[in-house]
Subunit: 113 residues, 2 copies
Amino acid sequence: MSVVTSKNRRGSPLPDAGVATPETLASIAKALGHPARIHIVRLLLEKQSCIGCDIVDEVGLAQSTVSEHLRILKDAGVISGEIERPRVCYSLNPESLAPLAKLLNAVSDAGNE
Amino acid sequence: MSVVTSKNRRGSPLPDAGVATPETLASIAKALGHPARIHIVRLLLEKQSCIGCDIVDEVGLAQSTVSEHLRILKDAGVISGEIERPRVCYSLNPESLAPLAKLLNAVSDAGNE
DNA sequence: TTCGTATATCGTCGATTAACGATATAGAGG
DNA sequence: CCTCTATATCGTTAATCGACGATATACGAA
Protein backbone atom coordinates (compact mmCIF):
# COMPACT_ATOMS: atom_id res chain seq x y z
CA MET A 1 0.00 0.00 0.00
CA SER A 2 1.71 3.18 1.05
CA VAL A 3 0.02 5.15 -1.67
CA VAL A 4 2.72 5.48 -4.31
CA THR A 5 1.00 8.37 -6.13
CA SER A 6 0.09 5.98 -8.92
CA LYS A 7 1.60 7.47 -12.02
CA ASN A 8 -1.43 6.53 -14.04
CA ARG A 9 -0.25 5.02 -17.25
CA ARG A 10 -1.72 6.41 -20.33
CA GLY A 11 -5.43 5.89 -20.62
CA SER A 12 -8.02 7.12 -18.25
CA PRO A 13 -8.11 10.51 -16.70
CA LEU A 14 -7.16 9.36 -13.21
CA PRO A 15 -8.88 6.12 -12.31
CA ASP A 16 -9.21 6.73 -8.61
CA ALA A 17 -6.37 4.84 -7.08
CA GLY A 18 -7.36 5.08 -3.44
CA VAL A 19 -8.02 8.82 -3.37
CA ALA A 20 -5.15 11.28 -3.25
CA THR A 21 -3.54 11.95 0.11
CA PRO A 22 -3.84 15.35 1.75
CA GLU A 23 -0.13 15.77 1.11
CA THR A 24 -0.57 15.23 -2.60
CA LEU A 25 -3.47 17.61 -2.91
CA ALA A 26 -1.78 20.21 -0.75
CA SER A 27 1.37 20.12 -2.84
CA ILE A 28 -0.64 20.77 -5.99
CA ALA A 29 -2.54 23.60 -4.35
CA LYS A 30 0.65 25.03 -2.96
CA ALA A 31 2.22 25.09 -6.40
CA LEU A 32 -0.74 27.16 -7.58
CA GLY A 33 -0.63 29.39 -4.53
CA HIS A 34 1.13 32.33 -6.11
CA PRO A 35 -0.20 34.89 -8.57
CA ALA A 36 2.76 34.53 -10.90
CA ARG A 37 2.22 30.78 -11.13
CA ILE A 38 -1.49 31.16 -11.79
CA HIS A 39 -0.51 33.61 -14.49
CA ILE A 40 1.82 31.06 -16.04
CA VAL A 41 -0.78 28.31 -15.96
CA ARG A 42 -3.31 30.52 -17.66
CA LEU A 43 -0.79 31.53 -20.24
CA LEU A 44 -0.07 27.92 -21.07
CA LEU A 45 -3.77 27.22 -21.18
CA GLU A 46 -4.56 29.85 -23.78
CA LYS A 47 -1.49 29.49 -25.97
CA GLN A 48 -1.74 25.80 -25.58
CA SER A 49 1.34 25.38 -27.58
CA CYS A 50 4.39 25.83 -25.46
CA ILE A 51 6.15 29.09 -24.78
CA GLY A 52 9.73 30.03 -24.18
CA CYS A 53 11.16 33.09 -22.56
CA ASP A 54 7.97 34.94 -23.45
CA ILE A 55 6.79 33.88 -20.04
CA VAL A 56 9.42 36.09 -18.48
CA ASP A 57 8.17 39.12 -20.41
CA GLU A 58 4.58 38.23 -19.66
CA VAL A 59 4.84 37.93 -15.89
CA GLY A 60 7.18 40.87 -15.49
CA LEU A 61 9.52 39.50 -12.87
CA ALA A 62 13.24 38.86 -13.08
CA GLN A 63 14.27 35.95 -15.27
CA SER A 64 15.71 34.06 -12.35
CA THR A 65 12.52 34.51 -10.39
CA VAL A 66 10.35 33.25 -13.21
CA SER A 67 12.69 30.33 -13.69
CA GLU A 68 12.13 29.46 -10.07
CA HIS A 69 8.35 29.62 -10.45
CA LEU A 70 8.62 27.35 -13.46
CA ARG A 71 10.71 24.92 -11.44
CA ILE A 72 8.09 24.84 -8.71
CA LEU A 73 5.34 24.09 -11.21
CA LYS A 74 7.53 21.46 -12.81
CA ASP A 75 8.34 19.81 -9.48
CA ALA A 76 4.63 19.66 -8.71
CA GLY A 77 4.05 17.99 -12.05
CA VAL A 78 1.79 20.76 -13.28
CA ILE A 79 3.92 21.58 -16.30
CA SER A 80 6.77 20.02 -18.17
CA GLY A 81 9.51 21.53 -20.25
CA GLU A 82 10.94 20.20 -23.43
CA ILE A 83 14.39 21.42 -24.31
CA GLU A 84 14.88 23.01 -27.71
CA ARG A 85 18.20 24.70 -27.35
CA PRO A 86 18.60 27.33 -26.42
CA ARG A 87 14.94 27.49 -25.46
CA VAL A 88 12.70 25.39 -23.33
CA CYS A 89 9.19 24.76 -24.44
CA TYR A 90 6.76 24.52 -21.54
CA SER A 91 3.34 22.96 -21.56
CA LEU A 92 0.67 21.91 -19.12
CA ASN A 93 0.22 18.39 -17.83
CA PRO A 94 -3.55 18.50 -17.87
CA GLU A 95 -4.07 15.36 -15.84
CA SER A 96 -1.87 16.62 -13.02
CA LEU A 97 -4.55 18.89 -11.62
CA ALA A 98 -7.32 16.32 -11.77
CA PRO A 99 -7.04 15.13 -8.16
CA LEU A 100 -7.43 18.64 -6.84
CA ALA A 101 -10.13 19.46 -9.38
CA LYS A 102 -12.03 16.45 -8.14
CA LEU A 103 -12.06 17.74 -4.58
CA LEU A 104 -12.99 21.26 -5.60
CA ASN A 105 -15.83 20.00 -7.74
CA ALA A 106 -17.09 17.89 -4.89
CA VAL A 107 -17.11 20.95 -2.67
CA SER A 108 -18.81 23.10 -5.28
CA ASP A 109 -21.40 20.42 -5.92
CA ALA A 110 -22.12 20.22 -2.22
CA GLY A 111 -23.64 23.67 -2.67
CA ASN A 112 -26.51 22.83 -4.98
CA GLU A 113 -28.16 19.82 -3.47
CA MET B 1 -8.66 42.39 2.62
CA SER B 2 -10.35 43.86 -0.47
CA VAL B 3 -10.63 41.42 -3.35
CA VAL B 4 -14.39 41.71 -3.55
CA THR B 5 -15.08 38.24 -4.92
CA SER B 6 -18.19 39.58 -6.65
CA LYS B 7 -20.98 38.35 -4.47
CA ASN B 8 -23.20 37.87 -7.47
CA ARG B 9 -26.70 39.14 -6.73
CA ARG B 10 -28.97 36.41 -7.99
CA GLY B 11 -28.56 32.72 -7.56
CA SER B 12 -26.17 31.49 -10.18
CA PRO B 13 -22.84 29.99 -9.19
CA LEU B 14 -20.57 32.74 -10.45
CA PRO B 15 -21.41 33.54 -14.08
CA ASP B 16 -18.11 34.94 -15.17
CA ALA B 17 -17.85 38.39 -13.71
CA GLY B 18 -14.68 39.46 -15.44
CA VAL B 19 -12.72 36.33 -14.58
CA ALA B 20 -10.98 36.03 -11.25
CA THR B 21 -7.63 37.73 -10.90
CA PRO B 22 -4.46 35.70 -10.43
CA GLU B 23 -4.31 37.10 -6.91
CA THR B 24 -7.76 35.79 -6.09
CA LEU B 25 -7.09 32.34 -7.46
CA ALA B 26 -3.69 32.16 -5.83
CA SER B 27 -5.11 33.09 -2.45
CA ILE B 28 -7.64 30.28 -2.68
CA ALA B 29 -4.99 27.81 -3.77
CA LYS B 30 -2.66 28.99 -1.06
CA ALA B 31 -5.32 28.42 1.57
CA LEU B 32 -5.56 24.83 0.38
CA GLY B 33 -1.80 24.43 0.20
CA HIS B 34 -1.32 22.59 3.47
CA PRO B 35 -2.19 18.98 4.30
CA ALA B 36 -3.97 19.90 7.50
CA ARG B 37 -6.22 22.31 5.66
CA ILE B 38 -7.03 19.78 2.96
CA HIS B 39 -7.84 17.42 5.77
CA ILE B 40 -10.22 19.95 7.29
CA VAL B 41 -11.95 20.63 3.99
CA ARG B 42 -12.50 16.94 3.41
CA LEU B 43 -13.80 16.53 6.91
CA LEU B 44 -16.35 19.28 6.37
CA LEU B 45 -17.25 17.76 3.05
CA GLU B 46 -18.12 14.36 4.45
CA LYS B 47 -19.77 15.42 7.70
CA GLN B 48 -21.43 18.18 5.84
CA SER B 49 -22.97 19.39 8.98
CA CYS B 50 -20.59 21.55 10.92
CA ILE B 51 -18.09 20.37 13.48
CA GLY B 52 -16.60 21.82 16.58
CA CYS B 53 -13.46 20.94 18.38
CA ASP B 54 -13.60 17.51 16.79
CA ILE B 55 -11.46 18.99 14.08
CA VAL B 56 -8.65 19.38 16.56
CA ASP B 57 -8.78 15.69 17.46
CA GLU B 58 -9.09 14.72 13.83
CA VAL B 59 -6.05 16.55 12.51
CA GLY B 60 -3.86 15.75 15.48
CA LEU B 61 -2.11 19.07 15.91
CA ALA B 62 -2.17 21.48 18.84
CA GLN B 63 -5.41 23.33 19.34
CA SER B 64 -3.78 26.67 18.67
CA THR B 65 -2.31 25.38 15.44
CA VAL B 66 -5.63 24.06 14.22
CA SER B 67 -7.30 27.29 15.17
CA GLU B 68 -4.78 29.07 12.98
CA HIS B 69 -5.50 26.76 10.03
CA LEU B 70 -9.19 27.41 10.50
CA ARG B 71 -8.54 31.13 10.49
CA ILE B 72 -6.64 30.86 7.23
CA LEU B 73 -9.48 28.95 5.61
CA LYS B 74 -11.95 31.45 6.98
CA ASP B 75 -9.95 34.42 5.71
CA ALA B 76 -9.85 32.84 2.28
CA GLY B 77 -13.61 32.45 2.41
CA VAL B 78 -13.42 28.68 2.10
CA ILE B 79 -15.25 28.02 5.35
CA SER B 80 -17.30 29.97 7.81
CA GLY B 81 -17.90 29.50 11.48
CA GLU B 82 -21.09 30.00 13.34
CA ILE B 83 -20.75 30.62 17.03
CA GLU B 84 -22.69 28.36 19.36
CA ARG B 85 -21.10 29.08 22.66
CA PRO B 86 -18.85 27.73 23.75
CA ARG B 87 -18.39 25.99 20.38
CA VAL B 88 -18.01 27.17 16.86
CA CYS B 89 -19.70 25.28 14.11
CA TYR B 90 -17.71 25.28 10.89
CA SER B 91 -18.97 24.59 7.42
CA LEU B 92 -17.83 24.91 3.84
CA ASN B 93 -18.70 27.79 1.58
CA PRO B 94 -19.16 25.66 -1.51
CA GLU B 95 -19.18 28.53 -3.99
CA SER B 96 -15.89 29.89 -2.71
CA LEU B 97 -13.85 27.34 -4.57
CA ALA B 98 -15.69 27.72 -7.85
CA PRO B 99 -13.28 30.19 -9.45
CA LEU B 100 -10.33 27.89 -8.87
CA ALA B 101 -12.36 24.82 -9.84
CA LYS B 102 -13.15 26.53 -13.11
CA LEU B 103 -9.50 26.97 -13.96
CA LEU B 104 -8.58 23.45 -12.94
CA ASN B 105 -11.38 22.01 -14.99
CA ALA B 106 -10.29 24.04 -17.98
CA VAL B 107 -6.80 22.64 -17.61
CA SER B 108 -8.04 19.10 -17.16
CA ASP B 109 -10.32 19.43 -20.15
CA ALA B 110 -7.43 20.66 -22.23
CA GLY B 111 -6.16 17.12 -21.95
CA ASN B 112 -8.87 15.28 -23.83
CA GLU B 113 -9.37 17.24 -26.98
C1' DT C 1 -19.13 33.93 41.90
C1' DT C 2 -16.27 30.33 40.49
C1' DC C 3 -15.46 26.47 37.35
C1' DG C 4 -15.21 24.21 33.06
C1' DT C 5 -15.27 24.03 28.13
C1' DA C 6 -14.24 25.57 23.46
C1' DT C 7 -11.85 28.95 20.84
C1' DA C 8 -8.90 32.70 19.78
C1' DT C 9 -4.78 35.26 20.26
C1' DC C 10 0.04 36.16 21.62
C1' DG C 11 4.97 35.50 21.50
C1' DT C 12 8.60 32.80 20.01
C1' DC C 13 11.50 30.11 17.04
C1' DG C 14 13.08 27.51 13.21
C1' DA C 15 12.03 26.58 8.40
C1' DT C 16 10.55 27.96 4.07
C1' DT C 17 9.52 31.30 0.42
C1' DA C 18 10.04 35.05 -2.89
C1' DA C 19 12.80 38.11 -5.01
C1' DC C 20 16.96 39.75 -6.97
C1' DG C 21 21.64 40.13 -9.33
C1' DA C 22 25.50 37.56 -10.61
C1' DT C 23 27.19 33.72 -12.60
C1' DA C 24 27.20 29.16 -14.96
C1' DT C 25 25.69 26.22 -18.75
C1' DA C 26 24.96 24.77 -23.44
C1' DG C 27 24.08 24.88 -28.12
C1' DA C 28 23.91 27.90 -32.72
C1' DG C 29 26.22 30.91 -35.62
C1' DG C 30 29.86 33.94 -36.84
C1' DC D 1 37.96 30.09 -31.26
C1' DC D 2 34.42 33.70 -29.41
C1' DT D 3 29.71 35.54 -28.99
C1' DC D 4 24.89 35.46 -28.57
C1' DT D 5 20.66 33.61 -26.67
C1' DA D 6 17.83 31.25 -23.38
C1' DT D 7 17.76 29.06 -19.24
C1' DA D 8 19.30 27.28 -14.73
C1' DT D 9 21.65 27.78 -10.46
C1' DC D 10 23.91 30.24 -6.56
C1' DG D 11 24.04 33.34 -2.67
C1' DT D 12 21.81 36.67 -0.14
C1' DT D 13 18.11 39.11 1.94
C1' DA D 14 13.58 40.17 3.89
C1' DA D 15 9.19 38.29 4.60
C1' DT D 16 6.00 34.78 5.62
C1' DC D 17 4.67 30.25 7.50
C1' DG D 18 3.94 26.45 10.76
C1' DA D 19 4.12 24.84 15.10
C1' DC D 20 3.91 25.16 19.93
C1' DG D 21 2.75 26.55 24.86
C1' DA D 22 0.79 30.06 27.50
C1' DT D 23 -2.73 33.04 28.08
C1' DA D 24 -7.11 35.51 27.13
C1' DT D 25 -12.05 35.40 26.12
C1' DA D 26 -16.76 34.21 26.71
C1' DC D 27 -20.49 31.74 27.97
C1' DG D 28 -23.29 27.96 30.65
C1' DA D 29 -23.53 25.45 34.65
C1' DA D 30 -22.83 24.53 39.50
